[in-house]
C-alpha cells in the first residue's frame, strides 16, 4: 500500500529526514517511535502533504501512485488520513457541517452517493459510538473550546467517518489521561481491518499497550535506527532512547534490524 524509498525532507533549508525506507502493507499496524527531534512528526506531515516541508530526495508510492505529486486534499480523498497532534479549531463551522462536507467531497470523488444533512446525521450518530461522543459535540464548532482529550476523540471520529485506507496518527496519545487514551485507542482498534493500514507515531510505549503494532520502527536523527516487532517498544521503554543513540554512534548510519 505504501512504499517509502530513501525519503529526504527539509524545512526552511534544514534537513530533517535523511533517507527513510519503509513499506506498509494492507492490514498492518506500524509504530514509528523516536526521541524528540528525530523526525517522526515530520515524516507524518510529509506523508499528509504539509506545504512547509520540502522533499529533497526519494520517493513515496501509495497504491502504486506517486504520493508526493498529489495535493494534500487529493491524498485525503484517496484514503490518506492524518490525525493531528494539535487539531485545529474552526470557529463558526459546526462539527456536523464540517464532517458532512468532508464526507461528501470524498463520496463525490469516488462517484458514490452524497448524503443530505438528515441522512448524514444517522451515519454520524452511528460512527460517534466508536469514540463515545455524544450528540452535543456535533452542533459545536469544530474543536473550539474542546479539551485536549475531546480534540483527539474528534480526530478519531473524523477517521471513523472518512474510513481511510491509510491512517497516520501523529502523537495521538499526547495530553491524554488514561481513560481518554483507552477510548481513543479503542476507537482506532475498531477501525483497523484487513483492508487498511495504520501508522502510529508516538514518543511513548504506553499507547502501544492498546494499539498493538505489527512492526516498530525507531527513528533517530532522521533515519530509521532500529526495526522490530512489538517487543522492541518494550525494550525501548526499559532502556530509553539513549540506548538507540549509543548504538547509532557505534555502527554509523546503517539500520539495525533486530532479530
Amino acid at each position: 500500500m505504501l512504499e517509502i524509498r530513501n525519503l529526504h525532507a527539509a524545512i526552511d533549508g534544514k534537513e530533517i529526514l535523511k533517507g527513510i525506507n519503509l513499506t506498509v502493507n494492507k492490514g498492518e499496524v506500524h509504530a514509528i517511535m523516536g526521541p524528540n527531534g528525530s523526525g517522526k512528526s515530520t515524516l507524518a506531515k510529509v506523508l499528509a502533504g504539509h506545504p512547509g516541508y520540502e522533499v529533497t530526495a526519494g520517493e513515496v508510492l501509495y497504491e502504486g501512485r506517486n504520493l508526493l505529486e498529489m495535493a494534500p486534499d487529493e491524498r485525503a480523498r484517496d484514503g490518506v488520513f492524518m490525525a493531528f497532534q494539535y487539531p485545529i479549531e474552526v470557529p463558526g463551522v459546526s462539527n456536523a457541517q464540517f464532517l458532512r462536507l468532508a464526507y461528501n467531497e470524498k463520496q463525490k470523488h469516488l462517484g458514490s452517493e452524497e448524503l443530505d444533512p438528515l441522512e448524514f446525521k444517522d451515519l454520524l450518530k452511528e460512527r460517534a459510538k466508536v469514540v463515545e461522543m455524544d450528540a452535543s459535540f456535533m452542533t459545536r464548532s469544530v474543536n473550539e473550546g474542546f479539551s485536549g482529550g475531546e480534540k483527539k476523540r474528534n480526530e478519531i471520529l473524523q477517521m471513523a467517518v472518512l474510513e481511510p485506507k491509510l491512517a497516520i496518527l501523529d502523537e495521538t496519545d499526547s495530553g491524554l489521561d488514561i481513560d481518554a487514551l483507552r477510548v481513543v485507542a479503542g476507537g482506532v482498534n475498531q477501525l483497523q481491518g484487513a483492508e487498511n493500514a495504520i501508522i502510529v507515531v508516538t514518543h511513548y510505549q504506553r499507547l502501544l499497550n492498546y494499539i498493538v503494532p505489527d512492526f516498530v520502527h525507531v527513528l533517530a536523527d532522521g533515519r530509521i535506527a532500529r526495526e522490530g516487532g512489538k517487543e522492541l517498544a518494550l525494550e525501548l521503554e526499559e532502556k530509553g532512547y539513549d540506548w538507540i543513540k549509543a548504538q547509532m554512534q557505534e555502527i554509523g548510519s546503517t539500520t539495525v534490524r533486530a532479530n
Binding site: A48, G49, H50, P51, A71, P72, D73, R75, A76, R77, F81, M82, F84, P87, I88, V90, P91, G92, V93, F98, L101, A102, E105, K106, H109, S141, Q158, L162
Partner: protein
C-alpha cells in the same frame, strides 16, 4: 471658497424650495426643516480633512447631481420578495423614503402603532410623541448629512410600541431606493418609540435598483424604561448605490438594545450608529458584519456612550474584504464621570482575502470613571495556512476550505440575527459573494437588483 460651497449646495436648494411649497401640517416641522437646511448650507458634505471622514471620501457623491426621488407611484414592486417568512405579515415598504401603503402589510401588529411619520405629526394622539422625540437623538446641528435628511422630512415611518406590549412577530421596514430615470437622492426617516416594558423585533432592509442612487437614511430609536428591542439591519443595495445611514438610539433605565447590522451592498456605504445610555442598568449589543468586494467601500462609525452607572455594552464587528475592497471601522466607547460599574467590551476583527484589500480600524475607549471593566481590541488577518492544511487533510480543497473558513468567520455575527430565515439567507449570500470574488460588479449581492 465660500461661493463654491453655496454653489454646490444649490443642487439641493432647488429641491428644497419645491418641498417648501408643499406646506406641512405642523408649523414646527417647517421650522425644523428650515433650520436643518440652514445647517446643511453651512456644513455641506463632510470632507477627508475631518477626522471622522478621514478614510471615506465623499467627493464624488458631493459632485454628482441627484434629483429628489419620488415615491414612484404606479410602479408595482413585488413587496413579498423583500420580506422573509417571519416578516411577511408585517412589512412597511418605503419607496425612496415615502411610505407606500399599497405595498405595506400590517396584519399582526398586536397593538403596535405604525404610521406614516407625516400622518403621525398631525395625529391627535401621537403628534406630541413625535414632537418630543423627533430629531432629538440624530444630531443635525453639526452633521451635514443628518441635516440634509432632516431638511427633506416629508414622509417616513413612525412606530410606537405601547407600554407592556410584547410583539412576537418581527416588524420589517424595507427601504427601496430606485430611480428608473437616472440619479436620484432619497432621505428615509424612521422614529421608533418603545414604551415602558415593551418588547419588539425590528428588521431593516435596504435594497436598490441598478441606477445610481443616493440614500441618506436616519433612524431614531427611543427605548423607555425596561423596553427591549432586537434590531437586525441588512444593507443590500446595488453596485451603483451610495448608502449613508445613521442609527441613533437612546436607552432608558433597565432597557435593552440588541443590534446586528449586516453590510453587504452599495458602492460606498457609511453607517453611523450611536447608543446613548442615559439611565442606569441599560444594556446593549452593537454587533455587525461588513463584506466588501472590489470597488466597494464600507465605513462603520460607532459611538457607545455610558453616561450612567451599571450599564453594559458589548460590541463585535467583523469584516471580510476581498479584491480591492476597502473598509473602515471606528468605534468609540465613552465612560462618563460617575458611570461606575460600567462593563464595556469592544472587538473588531477583519479577514483580508486579497493583498489589495485594505481596512482602517480604530477602536477607542475614553474612560472618566474609576470603577469600571472595559476592554477593546482590533485584529486584521488572513486565512490561516495551517487551518487550510487541516481542512485539506480531510479532503477539502483550498478554494472550498477558504470559503468554509470565511463562512465560519462570518457566522459568529450572522448567528446573532434574531430571525432564522434571514440567518439562512445571509449564510448563502455571504458564500455567494465570496465565490463571486469580484463583489457586486460581477453579481449584485443576493441578487437584489433583480427584484426591482
Amino acid at each position: 471658497m465660500a461661493t463654491e460651497v453655496v454653489k454646490r449646495e444649490n443642487k439641493y436648494q432647488q429641491a428644497f424650495e419645491a418641498l417648501k411649497a408643499r406646506k406641512p401640517s405642523a408649523a414646527w416641522i417647517e421650522l425644523l426643516r428650515d433650520s436643518a437646511m440652514d445647517r446643511f448650507e453651512s456644513l455641506g458634505f463632510p470632507t477627508v480633512a475631518e477626522e471622522e471622514w478621514k478614510y471615506t471620501n465623499l467627493a464624488e457623491l458631493s459632485r454628482l447631481h441627484f434629483n429628489l426621488a419620488t415615491a414612484n407611484k404606479g410602479v408595482e414592486y413585488k413587496s413579498a420578495q423583500f420580506s422573509f417568512p417571519e416578516t411577511a405579515d408585517n412589512q412597511i415598504v418605503l419607496v425612496n423614503g415615502t411610505f407606500r401603503h399599497d405595498l405595506s402589510t400590517t396584519e399582526k401588529l398586536a397593538g403596535v402603532v405604525v404610521l406614516d411619520l407625516f400622518e403621525a405629526i398631525s395625529d391627535a394622539r401621537y403628534g406630541k410623541v413625535v414632537r418630543e422625540y423627533l430629531a432629538r437623538n440624530a444630531n443635525y446641528h453639526d452633521r451635514g448629512l443628518t441635516a440634509l435628511n432632516t431638511a427633506f422630512l416629508e414622509s417616513g415611518v413612525f412606530v410606537l410600541v405601547p407600554r407592556n406590549i410584547e410583539m412576537e412577530s418581527p416588524l420589517q421596514i424595507t427601504f427601496v431606493a430606485d430611480s428608473p430615470a437616472g440619479h436620484t437622492a432619497n432621505f428615509p426617516r424612521v422614529l421608533l418609540v418603545a414604551e415602558e416594558n415593551s418588547s419588539v423585533k425590528l428588521v431593516e432592509r435596504f435594497v436598490s435598483g441598478r441606477q445610481p442612487t443616493f440614500t441618506n437614511a436616519v433612524v431614531e430609536i427611543v427605548l423607555l424604561d425596561g423596553a427591549r428591542l432586537k434590531h437586525d439591519r441588512l444593507q443590500q443595495e446595488g453596485s451603483e448605490a451610495f448608502h449613508i445611514a445613521t442609527t441613533a438610539a437612546e436607552l432608558g433605565q433597565g432597557s435593552s438594545y440588541n443590534s446586528t447590522a449586516i453590510n453587504l451592498g452599495a458602492k460606498l456605504a457609511r453607517h453611523d450608529v450611536s447608543v446613548v445610555m442615559n439611565h442606569e442598568g441599560a444594556e446593549c449589543w452593537v454587533d455587525g458584519l461588513y463584506v466588501v468586494g472590489s470597488n466597494q467601500h464600507s465605513d462603520t462609525h460607532s459611538v457607545i456612550d455610558h453616561k450612567q452607572p451599571y450599564c453594559n455594552s458589548h460590541q463585535l464587528y467583523k469584516g471580510i474584504l476581498d479584491g480591492n475592497g476597502r473598509a473602515v471601522f471606528n468605534g468609540k466607547i465613552f465612560v462618563r464621570e460617575g458611570a461606575q460599574k460600567t462593563d464595556a467590551m469592544q472587538t473588531n476583527k477583519n479577514l483580508l482575502l486579497s493583498p489589495q484589500a485594505r481596512v482602517d480600524t480604530k477602536p477607542q475607549l475614553e474612560i472618566y470613571a474609576d470603577d469600571v471593566k472595559c476592554a477593546h481590541g482590533a485584529a486584521v488577518g488572513q486565512i490561516d495556512q495551517e487551518e487550510l492544511f487541516y481542512l485539506a487533510t480531510r479532503g477539502i480543497d483550498p478554494d472550498l476550505g477558504k470559503s468554509l473558513l470565511t463562512y465560519g468567520f462570518a457566522e459568529e455575527v450572522i448567528g446573532k440575527i434574531g430571525v432564522e430565515s434571514i440567518r439562512a439567507q445571509l449564510d448563502q449570500a455571504v458564500l455567494n459573494q465570496i465565490h463571486a470574488e469580484l463583489g457586486p460588479q460581477a453579481s449584485s449581492p443576493a441578487g437584489m437588483s433583480d427584484m426591482l
